[in-house]
Structures are given as structure tokens and as C-alpha cells.
Symmetry: C2
Subunit: 138 residues, 2 copies
DNA sequence: ATTATATATTCTGAATATTGAATAACCTAA
DNA sequence: TTAGGTTATTCAATATTCAGAATATATAAT
């Protein structure tokens, strides 16, 4: 199968700021439910779900249902590297053009009514992943 | 300026098989003229020029005129790494789905009538870049 | 059953991307 | 100047993507 076609499809899946930000949330917070992403990004539920659908079809994320919640995570650690390298390239190219980029890390809103294990602790400083999950990344 | 927007634009510039292949030609053969790319890829001149225009606007390539010919090259070595990593990710994801990708390396046709220094030696086995240019890559 | 919560899908018009065809612009030589 | 070779742009038809609105689905509790 044509590699350039496939590679292009992968790039297309990444070619949207909302999808990049979702992937970044999954990368930094680890597996999380839709309402968590929705809350962090401050976007409508249907919108997030649409973008997650694109990422799922592209094979970049996997989902797992647990009761009412559906948890998403990166399909593979290599996606993290892909995100890092592309972000670095974007930063370099922007800097070359005299532009400085800011990748704002949005915080979890206190008002999230979701009861999933990830969002349930949202009153704490940062309800990220466990240290075990963190060690897998590094 | 929003980093995710910028990163998305970069991905969008890469989200096309013809553009990826052009970049690959520039990466492996170094600086080359439009007719060289046109010849290798077997596409119409206007089509190549359009795609080059997109890459130029995205800041991925630079052009330099020399007489009748315009020579294009990657703006920076970091683009090479970007191509490598994204290709590897595409290969991994495809393999994960039981698909094997082939990135065919098209050869320069003998019939190129162009007289630019790069294409002028097209009757030889491979009229790539000089060893000096090659060492800069590694 | 009904209700509530979390998530997914479908439909739509607007915006943007793709690509062939035609043509314009640029440079050199005579 | 004209002619010829190389590259760029414009136009138009088609296809795709974007993002809001509405609705559908899945699960749990009552």
C-alpha cells in the first residue's frame, strides 16, 4: 500500500488544533474520559466527541467503556514522540519567522459535575494520572 | 500566538501525498530544480509548481532562481527529522493494522530535456547531490 | 417501564482543499 | 524585437472539512 498516502492520512488526522490539543491532554493526563477533555478544553460535548471520532478512525487513540464513561488514551507511546517532534518543528519554524508560540495548558474547571474517577478529584490541584503511568512515559 | 493552530497548519502542509513525496525528493537528492521533481514524479509541471507553492507558503522549502531554473530545497535540516518521524509513525500504525507500506523511490527518467546542472547528468546512474551536501545531512 | 447522565451520530451550510486547463510571467538567446 | 524553454498563477468544477444543531444511543438507578 502506498506509504505517502498513508502518511498523508496521518498528517491529516493531526491537522487540526482541537485534535492536537486533545492528544496533548491524553499525553499529559493519561487515559481520561470525554467529560474530562470536554471540561479542560471548554468545548461542547458533541464537538469533542466528533474530534475523538476522527482520532479513533485514524487509529491514534483507543477507547474503553466503563459504565457510563468512555475512557480514551493514546494507542501507543510513539504517538507521544510524534506530538513532541511536530510541536518542536512548529516552534522552530515559527521562531524562524519571528513568532513565538504558546501552547496553553488549560486547567480543569471546578464545576465539572462528572462522577468518573478521573474528574471526581477535580477539586484537588491537579487530577492527573498516577505516578506509575507517568513513569511509563519517561 | 496559539501553538496548536500553528502546529495544525504545519500538519496540514504535510497532509498530502504529493507534497510528502516532493519533500522526500528534496531530502534525498538535495536542492533540485522543478523539472527534476517533475521528471521524477511523472506529474505535470503546473501540478508540481502548485504543491511547491503550498510548501513555500508553509515555510518548509526555500527557492532560489538561477537563470531559467528555480531550485528548491528544504528550509532546514529539522524538516528531515520531521519527515523521518512521521513516516516511521505511519509505518508503525499501518503495521499495527496489518498493512505494510511501501514508499517507492521513483527514478529519474532518461527523457528529461532540461539543461539545469542537476538534470543534465540524468543519463548517469543517479544524479543526486554532492558528497559534501550529503555530509551535512548526517 | 421512566429518568438521568454520558457519549455518539447525523444533518447541514459555510469554508477550504484539490486538481485539471489555460495562461501568464520570467529568463536567455538570436 | 521575437522565439523558446522553465516556472508560476488564475480560474473553475469538484470534493472534503469544519462546526453548530438536533437527535440518537448506551448505561445506571429508580
Amino acid at each position: 500500500m502506498d506509504g505517502y498516502e498513508w502518511q498523508g492520512s496521518l498528517m491529516k488526522a493531526l491537522a487540526h488544533p482541537a485534535r492536537l490539543q486533545i492528544l496533548e491532554v491524553l499525553r499529559s493526563d493519561g487515559e481520561c474520559c470525554v467529560c474530562h477533555i470536554e471540561n479542560i478544553m471548554g468545548q461542547r460535548q458533541a464537538y469533542i466527541s466528533q474530534q475523538l471520532s476522527r482520532l479513533r478512525e485514524a487509529g491514534l487513540v483507543v477507547d474503553r467503556r466503563e459504565g457510563l464513561n468512555v475512557f480514551y488514551s493514546l494507542v501507543d507511546e510513539s504517538i507521544s514522540q510524534l506530538l513532541e517532534v511536530t510541536r518542536q518543528s512548529a516552534t522552530d519554524l515559527a521562531s524562524f519567522n519571528g513568532v513565538q508560540l504558546s501552547f496553553r495548558q488549560l486547567e480543569h474547571e471546578e464545576s465539572c459535575p462528572c462522577t468518573c474517577p478521573n474528574c471526581g478529584v477535580q477539586d484537588e490541584a491537579h487530577a492527573g494520572r498516577t505516578s506509575q503511568e507517568l513513569s511509563q512515559v519517561t
